[in-house]
């Protein structure tokens, strides 16, 4: 397909995609933080339970 009249769509899409990409990177960092915190908490609960 030749871009033609959709040239504007391409550049606009690129900007939107980059914005979404940045948000997703932030959410990925959040996942890692949640993962670290919950694993630590669940492990602590397990140890308390084992005692």
């Amino acid at each position: 397909m030749v871009l033609g009249s959709l040239n504007w769509l391409f550049s606009f899409s690129l900007v939107v995609t980059i914005i979404f990409g940045i948000v997703i990177v932030i959410l990925s960092i959040s996942w890692w933080q949640i993962f670290k915190l919950t694993i630590r908490r669940f492990n602590t609960e397990d140890k308390q339970h084992d005692r």
């Binding site: 995609t17 948000v23 997703i24 959410l27 996942w31 993962f35 669940f42």
Partner: protein, 432 residues
């Protein structure tokens, strides 16, 4: 034509990414805010203990009813502040006898519970309306016959409504799958439920104070339910219908995330298909009933809910079907092109725009994995390598079942409209 399709397609993808990002962000904020440990062995007393009538609608549930009733009777709530009504609704098995047997157990001698054998119509909504008439509680709590609450579930539900009793007409908890290790289907259902409860519910509550009454594990203010006319008799999804009614009356349905119950999920494709088709059909009916509120002066929460449902059940579904059709057509044309070079594909995959589409799809897929993993990480024992692989596989298998189910439900509604008869039967979810 194809240009317009491109524009519609990219807007659809962005909208779905946007909606996912918003709910996921809300869910993440909620998780961070509620990470602290609650010592459930040493809970502070509540400001007051309103009287609660717990209702269990049971239709041929002899296999599971005793477990559920025992769990309810062991709830951490003052014995004189709650009563339990088990409705053996049009049963032709021993559900009522199984409940009566519990009366003989010493532990439950002083508990206020009884079984009511019912032969009326209206299904679960009919049972709840009957209970509304005879209950003595300030609040009505509902547990499905297969949903065993954790011992503090009622405590947390009441604690939540008491935070703002004027505004919070109801509080709902979380449901967990107790038979998730049974097979591939139950594992996928479990993933879906963990995601719905840990991201969707929390995200919508955190950002918009929007809650939806599930079928089980919730309490609701009796006077408010009476003021809106009770449950919609015969509704296929009485929970969605009453959620909309409550929100229309300006009340909120609060999330009590620590109130947990364990329920059974379908173990066969047949049971799953019939359960989900009924849900999808019920949801379609509620959406169509509430569509008019998109354009009137109803609360913005109703508009947001209707928009959300319309996007999920109509827009995104249609988009997936069209894109799958184009994809298959394109693959066929690519095959034909190898024999007849003069034939062209509908969409070429080498252009910059197509690459951008591919990037957006990959982003959507990554977002799905991220959402699932955040949900799993926040739930004890769920973030495992096994569940990660199930998450990957279920995207291409289990998740696609939703399309089949929603098409079947939509067709059932169309057929009923054309013929003027209601063909949909209520398939009881099989217990194990």
């Amino acid at each position: 034509m194809i240009d317009n399709l491109y524009v519609i397609a990219i807007i659809t993808i962005w909208l779905s990414i946007f909606m996912t990002v918003v709910t996921l962000s809300g869910g993440v904020i909620f998780i961070f805010k509620h990470l602290q440990h609650t010592n459930i062995d040493n809970l502070p007393p509540l400001k007051r203990y309103p009287r609660v009538t717990l209702v269990v609608p049971a239709h041929n549930e002899e296999l599971v009813i005793q477990d559920t009733v025992q769990s309810i009777l062991r709830l951490n709530y003052p014995l004189d502040r709650f009563e339990l009504l088990v409705y053996a609704d049009n049963c032709n098995d021993h559900t009522a006898d199984r409940v009566r047997e519990l009366k003989q157990i010493k532990e439950f001698k002083n508990h206020n519970f009884r079984v009511i054998e019912r032969t009326g119509t209206g299904g679960k909504a009919g049972v709840l309306n009957d209970a509304l008439k005879v209950s003595t509680g300030e609040y009505l709590g509902v547990y499905d016959a297969d949903a065993a609450p954790e011992k503090n579930a009622l405590y947390f539900l009441v604690q939540k409504v008491l935070e703002n009793p004027e505004r919070y007409a109801a509080a709902f908890g979380r449901n967990k799958t107790r038979n998730y290790q049974q097979n591939f289907l139950t594992r996928c259902i479990n993933l879906e439920i963990v995601n719905t409860q840990r991201i969707q519910h929390t995200g919508l509550w955190q950002l918009f104070k929007i809650g939806r009454i599930p079928g089980t594990n919730f309490i609701i203010n009796k006077k408010i339910v009476q003021s809106i006319g009770g449950w919609n008799n015969g509704a296929l999804t009485e929970d969605t219908a009453i959620s909309f009614s409550l929100m229309r009356s300006g009340k909120l349905i609060a999330l009590a995330h620590r109130a947990e119950a364990f329920q059974q999920e379908p173990e066969t494709l047949f049971a799953y298909y019939n359960q989900r088709k009924r849900w999808a059909r019920g949801n379609y009916e509620v959406i169509l009933d509430n569509l008019k509120h998109l354009f009137d002066r109803t609360s913005w929460r109703i508009k947001l809910e209707v928009f959300y449902y319309v996007c999920t059940f109509f827009w995104f579904n249609a988009a997936i079907i069209i894109s799958n059709t184009i994809f298959i057509l394109n693959m066929i044309l690519a095959g034909v092109q190898t024999i007849f070079p003069q034939v062209h594909q509908l969409v070429s995959l080498g252009t910059p725009l197509s690459v951008l589409f591919m990037v957006n799809w990959l982003m959507m897929f990554f977002l799905y994995l991220l959402q699932m993993n955040i949900a799993l990480a926040s739930d004890y024992g769920q973030e495992t390598v096994k569940n990660f692989f199930y998450t990957l596989v279920s995207y291409f298998t289990y998740a696609q079942l939703f399309i089949i189910v929603s098409i079947a439900a939509f067709w059932a509604i169309l057929r009923d409209k054309i013929t003027g008869k209601r063909h949909t039967q209520w398939y009881k979810t099989q217990r194990f």
